[in-house]
């Protein structure tokens, strides 16, 4: 077992498409879905770049890795580009997902409206609290019953689950991770504030909510320093 480096994925290059590009594809995909829903058929690289918050040079470079170059003076075909990105991201297939830890965060994740529309199907909810086992949770309009962690191996195997979401407290996250990995899960989205140790071949992405606030705080601090400097100068 080795420590899974949090930042390895964003920096590395695997599979011909740089990881940094992969990390931006979902944003392009979302922008294009919104355009398609408004009946837009063609989009220039500038428009799509604007809607996605990147430079148009970066956008063109990213899309070139998919073999998509657009047409000079015309732009990209929205539907075809959507298909290309969805195919690259693996969204043309449905991914069964399990969520472990059904507290407030697990409930929020189970009910997250964006999962189903983007190819993810929550096939199992698990909690170690016996009082919670048996509770019904509405997931994409269907009721899913919270199961005991003892039932996890069977559901992971029968549904071919390869993606697991950990929303447990910090202290149980590694143990839950080990169970998931032992039963064949090879991608883990971790919300617990802990670096998980996983064997080679298992991908972990960590979402740390406090990190995002810290980054905002950094910029807030600079803004207030600037404002103070300006008021002293004035």
């Amino acid at each position: 077992m080795s420590v899974s480096p949090v930042a390895k994925t964003p920096q590395g290059v695997r599979s011909g498409i740089p990881d940094a590009t992969v990390n931006r594809l979902p944003t392009y995909h979302r922008s294009l879905v919104s355009m398609a829903s408004r009946g837009i058929l063609l989009v220039s690289s500038e428009e799509l770049a604007d809607a996605s918050g990147v430079s148009s040079a970066k956008l063109r470079k990213d899309l070139s890795f998919l073999g998509s170059y657009g047409t000079r003076g015309v732009g990209y075909d929205v539907e075809f580009l959507l298909y290309q990105i969805a195919r690259a991201l693996g969204l043309t297939q449905q991914w069964p997902v399990v969520i472990v830890g059904i507290g407030n965060l697990g409930h929020a994740l189970a009910g997250y409206p964006g999962f189903a529309s983007r190819g993810f199907k929550v096939v199992g909810l698990f909690d170690s609290d016996d009082n919670r086992v048996g509770e019904q949770v509405s997931v994409a309009g269907l009721n899913v019953v919270i199961s005991s962690i003892a039932d996890l191996p069977q559901i992971v195997r029968s549904s071919g689950v390869s993606i697991g979401v950990i929303a447990t407290p910090e202290k149980s996250a590694q143990e839950v991770c080990d169970v998931l990995v032992r039963h064949g899960v090879t991608s883990i989205l971790n919300f617990a504030p802990v670096l998980l140790e996983v064997p080679a071949g298992v991908d972990v992405r960590r979402v740390d909510l406090a990190t995002e606030l810290q980054i905002l705080a950094f910029h807030e601090q600079r803004k207030s320093q600037l404002a103070m400097a300006e008021s002293n100068a004035g």
Copy 2:
């Protein structure tokens, strides 16, 4: 009002420290806190880089922006480096934060254990649902009462809140954002699946939970393609 580019912050350079470096500082901070708690006094760049999931070259470069170079053959002083990073991130002061939208996600955020320990204090919880207003939520061991959005201006002003968290459904996120900005909030952490429009000078970071799953799905797809190629070759 202009569209706030999602990716402007991660790419740009403000305030002398590249934004990409700023985005990694919370990870270094967390690794150092864990080392300090284990009584470690000195750390080599390799050890800290390993624990944080970056290359040691990148770590040294990042820390050089803080004026921190370590000592050859000795490494970095853990406590002093912690102080330098905390100061750069603005964690030496306390940041009052409000959370708007107290469904499952808002509850999870309010109870998130990592906020208080990293300098954030939740001073207000708001919801548009009258049935929820008045409910008590435990935040870092204290009870905070959910307030009506009508009370938001008063609390933002009296507590000097500059950071707001939006955990509302998609359809009300922009309206809530406008209210926050109008009353002086200049940093927004957005969990709603929508690009918020904000005036210049306001920072927005969006956390999109489905994006993280999409990135994992990409790597899963590549892993299964590789496995298939191997089994066909074998």
